[in-house]
Symmetry: C2
Subunit: 248 residues, 2 copies
């Protein structure tokens, strides 16, 4: 049974792409067959692993999805994003639940056989995020240790509940991971306490520290686990992978 | 003649809201009459000044826009965002250029009389950003000093050119501002050099340093200029306001 994770938060720059790439690398290292799906028109998950975006998105052209999946030297297969403005407009204007359902069924059918799938979403709650929620059975929400973070989280959970109520299969669980935690700032401790108090066990025990190796890794087209395996950032995502693996 | 600025970048978390609020505060301090417009369904610009989002968006209900504008103690008027899921779905599904044009004309008509208008956009290139581009005569693009930043900038400028070619009046100019610059990181210097080499005079001379006072200011519902006027972050945005004022 494939475990499909949607990495989503409409707040921008909170570490969605970094979390999707790092968890995919963590699970691939543990020997599982992993697919990373780039659903963001910015194609950061695709660039972040030194791959090129597709010129047209298979969801729009009807081409078999298998044909556009690319392999990486890190044991991660990638379904690249597409920057094609026309395709993006079409994918983001799909509003009827029936069409989103058709897109989702196609994705499920054509990506059978992977152990773990990680979907990187754009910073919005539009159709791309909604169809990725419909396709997955688990959601991971990265949240920055900053003031605006709490504001968005309540709204994000409301959207997830709303989208999930439209589909037949239940969402198994959602997990919140605190990212870019800078322990030298008082605010970090305050936000962490707030989030844990309000959301309890939904929040992973593992938190991700602020670490410059993340931006260095992406400029080298690698996950932090493959670029700097002994860094604090890499160790935190390996710990998070184990915590996610345990939560069944 | 009102100068209307659109603060846009589809990359998330680069400092759009912080730039919109800080410039609005800078211009208000210089004595101009300022309107801050929150076009982002996350309503960060509204929360960031301790205001409440509107329950329904006047662009959807047809209510006069003047009725929902709120005053702040800092000389900035704010047109708040709306979190209403139905309104957001409607505003983000407006795809025909004629409808975007109608929305834009209404906004221009009903906000006459301000000296400066700053529009905070969501992290996307969808209809909300497109109508805000259509309404403004100038664009400011915040860019983080990080690897993914350059990737998105080229794409963002392509979109601006594409949207602008659909409207009658020309965009006067676009400016790129480098945000969250941490001089202790080698990467910051490399990205800055890259961006200035590639985009030349489009890039403002003023850069914004990483400063914890920004997140502290937003948790107190104030702009950094009103919360910590002598901080490095506040001084940088005052400098940027002067540079923007000079560029006519
Ligand atoms: N723990 C961390 N420490 C330091 N930098 C980080 C960390 N996590 C991510 N970053 C950096 O912060 C920036 C934003 O992260 P990322 O692009 O993963 O966020 P995102 O939520 O995917 O953004 P978007 O909303 O645009 O999709 C990137 O440049 C990334 O390298
Ligand atoms: N120069 C800076 N130094 C340190 N922190 C900053 C700086 N500018 C912004 N921030 C903080 O970084 C976070 C992201 O900034 P902001 O919300 O303004 O970005 P945004 O582009 O508007 O995000 P979104 O894409 O979600 O709309 C906020 O918590 C903000 O307080
Ligand atoms: Mg991303
Ligand atoms: Mg914002």
């Amino acid at each position: 049974m494939t475990r499909t994770f949607c990495i989503a938060n409409q707040k921008g720059g909170v570490g969605k792409t970094t979390t999707a790439i790092s968890l995919a690398a963590g699970f691939a290292r543990a020997g599982s067959s992993v697919l990373l799906v780039d659903f963001d028109p910015q194609c950061n998950a695709t660039n972040g692993l030194c791959l090129l975006p597709s010129s047209r998105h298979p969801l729009v052209t009807g081409e078999p999805i298998r044909h556009t999946i690319q392999k990486t030297p890190y044991g991660i297969d990638v379904l690249p994003g597409s920057r094609n403005f026309g395709d993006v407009e079409r994918l983001t204007s799909v509003r009827e639940p029936r069409k989103i359902e058709q897109m989702t069924l196609r994705l499920m059918r054509e990506t059978r056989g992977y152990d773990h799938i990680f979907i990187d979403c754009p910073p919005s709650v539009g159709p791309l995020t909604q169809s990725s929620l419909a396709w997955s059975n688990e959601v991971i929400i990265p949240v920055q240790c900053e003031y605006f973070a709490m504001e968005g989280l309540v709204q994000m959970l409301e959207v997830i509940v709303k989208v999930m109520s439209r589909r037949s299969k239940a969402l198994e669980y959602a997990g919140v991971v605190l990212t870019m935690c800078d322990r030298s700032l008082e605010l970090t401790g305050e936000v962490e306490e707030d989030v844990r108090e309000k959301f309890g066990d939904v929040v992973f025990r593992t938190t991700i520290p602020r670490d410059v190796s993340f931006t260095e890794a992406s400029s080298h087209g690698k996950s932090i686990i493959d670029y700097a395996p002994r860094s604090r950032g890499a160790r935190a995502y390996i710990e998070l992978s184990l915590e996610v693996l345990d939560r069944v």
